[in-house]
């Protein structure tokens, strides 16, 4: 009668560093390398520093949004309101810019605040009204869209992004390193700290594993859910702010193309769609992987149609490898 099961002995046998590396994360990074090599067969430009930095910049926008998506998925939930939260963040921050110097200064926080509000509505729906996350977030997405349509009159908004927005999205604080990457770094560091060093983060993983057990352990699961959705909303909106800074303005439906990639980045990085398991490093790898995939497909001049198909297939295959539910009995 041993005290430790074979699984435990196996885990203990993987010494030191090796034990810490999640096989999924390693695979994701491996795929990145693979893609770069495949791309370099097509054109040697793929391994140029300029190109890689550009990819990192584009990945940063996705990365910020995926950070929020990861938080919610870790809880065992999902946020389908990302598309219009992104767009709202972008449009509202640009809109604030039209209100004089105070507006310009507060543009970015205001945009983020809008996202936080959407997130709070989602959180209350999920935690207190026990509405399935997928449904409430679809609904808030629709409401956000409705509000933005009314606000812009259906046209592309004419408001311009502020200097600050353009700077954080396209500037170069450190020569050679795009600011967007720095922003992602800061957001990422914050996320890692939150998830690994705070009681909030511990509670998030716990709730994702079993909200029931977390509740019985005295965790205020409802409050944590609301806060998490609020953070996610804020991050999505912040992503929109960055995107607006990048293109100098907001556009209708600009957020639609980020929903699937954000979820894919999280899932491909090894975070379980069922919640409770996953590391941020994986999400970083996932975001870079998706961005590279998109870039290579576009350089190879595969039309949008083909890209969508390949996207979907890649995600399904990765899920079949990582995300299957256990066979019953």
């Amino acid at each position: 009668m041993s005290e430790i099961s074979p699984m435990g002995r196996q885990e203990a046998g993987r010494q030191g560093l090796w034990r810490r590396i999640d096989p999924a994360v390693a695979t994701a990074f491996g795929c990145i390398v693979l893609l770069l090599l495949l791309g370099s067969l097509y054109s040697s430009n793929f391994l140029h520093l300029d190109y890689l930095l550009l990819q990192l910049k584009v990945a940063s926008f996705l990365g910020v949004i995926a950070t929020g998506a990861m938080l919610v998925i870790l809880l065992g939930q999902i946020d389908l309101s990302a598309p219009w939260t992104i767009t709202t963040g972008a449009m509202m921050s640009c809109a604030a810019a039209a209100y004089g110097p105070a507006g310009v200064a507060l543009a970015i926080p205001f945009g983020i605040l809008c996202g936080v509000l959407i997130g709070i509505v989602n959180g209350i729906g999920v935690a207190y009204l026990r509405i399935p996350a997928m449904i409430i977030t679809l609904a808030t997405n629709a409401v956000a869209q409705g509000l933005m349509v009314v606000y812009t009159g259906g046209f592309s908004p004419q408001d311009e992004a502020t200097e600050a927005m353009r700077y954080i999205a396209t500037g170069f604080l450190i020569p050679g390193v795009p600011n967007a990457v720095l922003v992602w770094l800061v957001v990422g560091a914050g996320a890692v700290f939150l998830l690994t060093r705070t009681s909030f983060g511990r509670a998030v993983y716990g709730i994702g594993n079993s909200e029931r057990a977390a509740y019985l352990s005295g965790i205020d699961t409802r409050r944590i859910l609301v806060i998490a959705f609020a953070i996610t909303g804020g991050l999505a909106a912040f992503g929109g702010v960055l995107l607006a800074g990048y293109s100098s303005k907001a556009a209708q439906s600009m957020g639609d193309v980020y929903l699937l990639p954000a979820i894919a980045a999280v899932v491909l990085g090894g975070t379980s769609i069922l919640g409770g398991r996953g590391s941020y490093l994986g999400t970083v790898a996932g975001a870079i992987l998706i961005t590279l995939l998109q870039s290579i497909l576009s350089v190879m001049q595969i039309p949008e149609a083909g890209r969508q198909v390949i996207y979907g297939i890649v995600i399904v295959i990765m899920l079949l490898l990582y995300g299957r539910a256990p066979a019953s009995r």
Binding site: M1, I4, T198, S210, L216, G218, I219, D220
Partner: protein, 515 residues
């Protein structure tokens, strides 16, 4: 009404689960036109017996003989085809479907590939009538019916399969008194029609009224079979008790003086219809046990104290002051200082994929963090202390909790709560499914905690534990405290007798109470 030979016989049947012998050379004889009552305490082998008879599991040894021919069942469906049907205690009805749908669920009548609703209804009405439940409308949705009606539908569903042997496993637990008498009339009528009925129950008065023949199971084998009425309640209880092994328990300390104020009390506590007018009080240093049959409200009482139930009547007091505990979060706060070791460690007590360390500190995050940020050093020192204190055997604190053995997992659950130094510790069947060695360690631990001043309330289905660990035992029945036993009064006989509603009147004189 008896026949030439028995309808069904089971001989030398054995079944092991891992190291535990659930059935050991068991035998049973069932005759047609007879109601056969089966008695035995938890773990005596009754449910394994039923599972083998109804084809849910296969025996390791032994044989079953039906109509004089040897038989084996590969599946419940096979047993049904042979005419053996079981009415389970856990309902297997589909809530959103109608009564008629449910009655014919495994084999609905069909016409042109579609379900024939008229025929289905006719079958349902016939089955309901036969079960004495003709008042249930076949088109009613099961979820709209109260529990007692649903149990009747279960019985009708079993009868619709035209059984020759009908097994009822605690089938009356959810029924109202008038339902019970109706069901009894139905069972007696079925007996006249030549059916063989196996009736498993803890309720002695029901067995006394209904059964022609009784069999007592103990430790996996049939210890006695006799005609009803030839043995007294007391004698039957004697037959049921007796164990192979004896746990070693730490010596009990002298009883806590009753002048000492209680740490936790409840007065006239009520909830839904599962807790009725409960008043208990526990002092520091006491280990109080909750006894009684399964499902009499013990779990609900613990949940009620811990703040999980809504709509409580009555009062809960901690340290003499009335408190309103709205959630486990409030319950664990230092001012109240409660802890609950829950029923199912895998789904309620632990986060299996998370590390041992994360699990241990999970309920005490407030105590190891400042302003939301976890203090790694403080956490580590507290955890290491706990691991030493409880002698938790693990290869490291980073491995997932799911990798540890059952006993060590339970130790983690307990340690997790001890991190908060609670003064009121509630335990919900903490040693279920745990090896003997770890059990001893837990008993020692509980005694030590009590000696250090904790008030402990401890629900167990194991009589040995209640006798060995507890200063007092409150035996619960039907949502209320039936009897309180203290010190020397806590004997297996007394526990079983009060659980079964058998009143003791001195040694050797026992009567079946109620009826």
């Amino acid at each position: 009404m008896s026949r030439a030979g028995p309808l069904f016989r089971m001989e030398g049947v054995s079944k092991r689960y891992g190291g535990v012998r659930a059935l050991d050379g068991a035998e049973l004889t069932v005759n047609a036109g007879q109601i056969h009552g089966i008695l035995g305490e938890n773990g005596a082998g009754k449910s394994t017996l039923i599972k083998i008879m109804s084809g849910v599991v296969e025996p390791d040894e032994g044989q079953m003989v039906l109509d004089g021919k040897e038989i084996a069942f590969a599946s419940p469906a096979a047993a049904n085809d042979a005419g053996i049907v079981c009415v389970f205690q856990e309902l297997s009805l589909i809530p959103h479907l109608s009564v008629a749908d449910n009655i014919v669920i495994s084999n609905p009548p069909k016409r042109f590939g579609m379900i024939d609703r008229k025929k289905q209804r006719a079958i349902a009405e016939e089955a309901l009538a036969r079960a004495g439940a003709a008042d249930i409308h076949p088109l009613a949705l099961v979820k709209d019916l109260p529990l007692s009606r649903r149990q009747m539908v279960e019985i009708a569903k079993a009868l619709a399969r035209k059984p020759r042997i009908l097994i009822l496993d605690e089938a009356t637990s959810a029924l109202t008194a008038s339902d019970v008498s109706k069901v009894f009339d139905v069972l007696k009528r079925l007996r006249e029609e030549g059916l063989a009925l196996l009736y498993i129950s803890h309720r002695m008065h029901e067995i006394a009224e209904l059964a022609d023949v009784c069999t007592v199971f103990r430790n996996g084998s049939n210890v006695a079979s006799f005609a009803t009425g030839t043995k007294s309640g007391n004698e039957i209880v004697e037959l049921m008790i007796g164990r192979e092994y004896k746990n070693v328990f730490p010596p009990k300390t002298p009883p806590v003086p009753s002048e000492r104020p209680p740490v936790v009390e409840c007065r006239r506590l009520g909830w839904a219809d599962q807790l009725k007018d409960i008043s208990i009080s526990v002092r520091a240093g006491e280990v109080v046990g909750l006894g009684g049959l399964d499902g009499q409200g013990q779990r609900e009482l613990l949940l009620a104290l811990f703040g999980v139930l809504r709509g409580l009547n009555g009062e809960v007091l901690v340290g003499g002051k009335p408190v309103r505990i709205g959630s486990p979060r409030q319950a664990k706060r230092d001012e109240i200082g409660m802890a609950l070791i829950p029923e199912d460690r895998k789904t309620e007590g632990l986060l299996l994929p998370m590390s041992v360390r994360d699990n241990l500190s999970f309920a005490a995050l407030d105590h190891v963090s400042h302003g939301g940020v976890i203090d790694g050093a403080a956490e580590k020192s507290r955890i290491d202390k706990m691991i030493r204190l409880l002698a938790i055997k693990t290869a490291g604190t980073d491995i997932p909790a799911g990798a540890l053995s059952g006993g060590n997992q339970q130790k983690i659950v307990i340690a997790k709560w001890l991190m908060n130094q609670p003064r009121i510790i509630l335990l919900n069947d903490p040693t279920r499914g745990i090896d003997v060695g770890t059990k001893q360690e837990i008993y020692q631990l509980l005694r030590k905690l009590a000696d250090e001043g904790a008030a402990i309330i401890f629900y167990s289905t194991d009589y040995d534990e209640l006798i060995g660990c507890c200063d007092r035992v409150l035996v619960m029945y039907d949502g209320g405290i039936r009897r309180e036993l203290a010190g020397e009064e806590i004997t297996e006989h007394a526990l079983i007798a009060s659980a079964l509603n058998v009143e003791e009147r001195g040694a050797g004189q026992a009567e079946v109470a109620g009826a």
